[in-house]
Symmetry: D2
Subunit: 141 residues, 4 copies
């Protein structure tokens, strides 16, 4: 399978589907079953001490898998997250963007599984890892 | 074990620790190893169609376990989430508050495990379930 | 919805589908979206010290959700586990049967989510909790 | 950090700690924070149709992280699994050994997080992925 939506098109799709959050994310690189997404860390993502909040990391992982899926199967508005497991392993660097490296491990007709590692920009060890399942509803006849 | 911080005191603790988000949550009831927390759903929690976003549900589950833990062991600023597994099972009702029912299944010295079911207010079936682990760092001598 | 397969019929179904493991389990009670299943702990489930192994607890949780699903929707050979999250919270009692209390939190046409708490027989605190998703393949025309 | 126990020594450690299951596994390669472990698939791991059971895959993932941990920190009998999240993505090939590729994403003093991909031998796509947390109890003074 090959990529059917490149970064620019994906970015437009995100703007139209999720206007509330699209401005938080930059799609840095798209490949076959892979994507790199940046979270532009702003005040609303922070907790006391400047660390990035757990929900912000969850949100980044969720968006990354969603976009990796869209890149491979074309615009599918109805894909929904059904499960996420996330490990928070290290405290993110203060006031630093986060980078998600996402791979799709399964790209089925109904279920898609993505694996994400999240790094503080420039960091070598992941601050979090997540795996998410998206469900794609069957098309109506 | 008995509750060492009641709803009002917990609410003040949340205000002081997490001022960015404290206004989103109302502690409805505190019991032994149990808590009920409401997410006051506002525009920033919504996705197109009025449904509450996944990160908002994650945030509610995370806060609920954090507060249930604080209620039992007293103010512990350093407790951190190390793991969360969450299942999104039904679409939340549009523009409706969410209610988290949380129980602590393990209350260890170092690790605490909480179980959360999330309902749209008035709904009978949970829209999501989550389990979270918090780690409590050992006290320095 | 009501129960369509009671304990005896479920037990026969387990024997025919999974003869390798059916003898390890006893279905103790079946209700609407609920089941209680016992693991008859034998030598092969133990680790040094007499504690029950993690894979044995996983297996019990998996079987419990599978049977709860079958009880509600009738014999569905093709249901497959797609995800499991499990927390091991306390060491099980030595040489003691385990009891799984399972509830189905979602009973969809394609996805079923079950929640399981596992106790050492007679114990008050769960030794483990798990949530599992089963996928039911669409019927071919 | 460097490897403190190589494959042969690890294998002896597994024999002495878990004699019930040690014969099922072969340690194929050990590296810094990495290990490859083979499950010698036998009759007891199979389900009807020849497919490897879920509990067998869970067991392989669990052993792989345990051994990767031991390889890095030396023999630590008391390390216990506290959490596992596993996605079953494809049906394993019939009657074929499984290969686990494990990396440690976090190697803390108290908590260790490992990530595992499981392949049917010779397969290109993982049949399952798992992440596990081990807790290492603090040493008594």
């Amino acid at each position: 399978m090959t990529v059917v939506m490149e970064a620019e098109e994906l970015s437009g799709f995100l703007d139209s589907e999720f206007p509330q959050i699209a401005g938080d994310f930059v799609i840095e690189e798209v490949g076959e079953r892979r994507i790199r997404v940046r979270l532009l860390v702003g005040h609303r993502h922070l907790r006391p001490g400047g660390t990035v909040s757990g929900p912000s990391m969850f949100s980044l992982a969720d968006v990354a898998v969603y976009l990796a899926l869209q890149a491979m199967v074309g615009p599918v508005s109805l894909a929904v997250t059904t499960n996420c497991s996330i490990d928070f392993m290290h405290k993110p660097a203060a006031n630093t963007d986060l980078i998600a490296e996402c791979r799709l491990l399964k790209l089925g007709r109904m279920l898609v599984v993505g694996d994400v590692q999240i790094f503080s920009e420039g960091g070598l060890e992941p601050v979090a890892r997540a795996s998410l399942t998206y469900s794609i509803p069957p098309k109506r006849a």
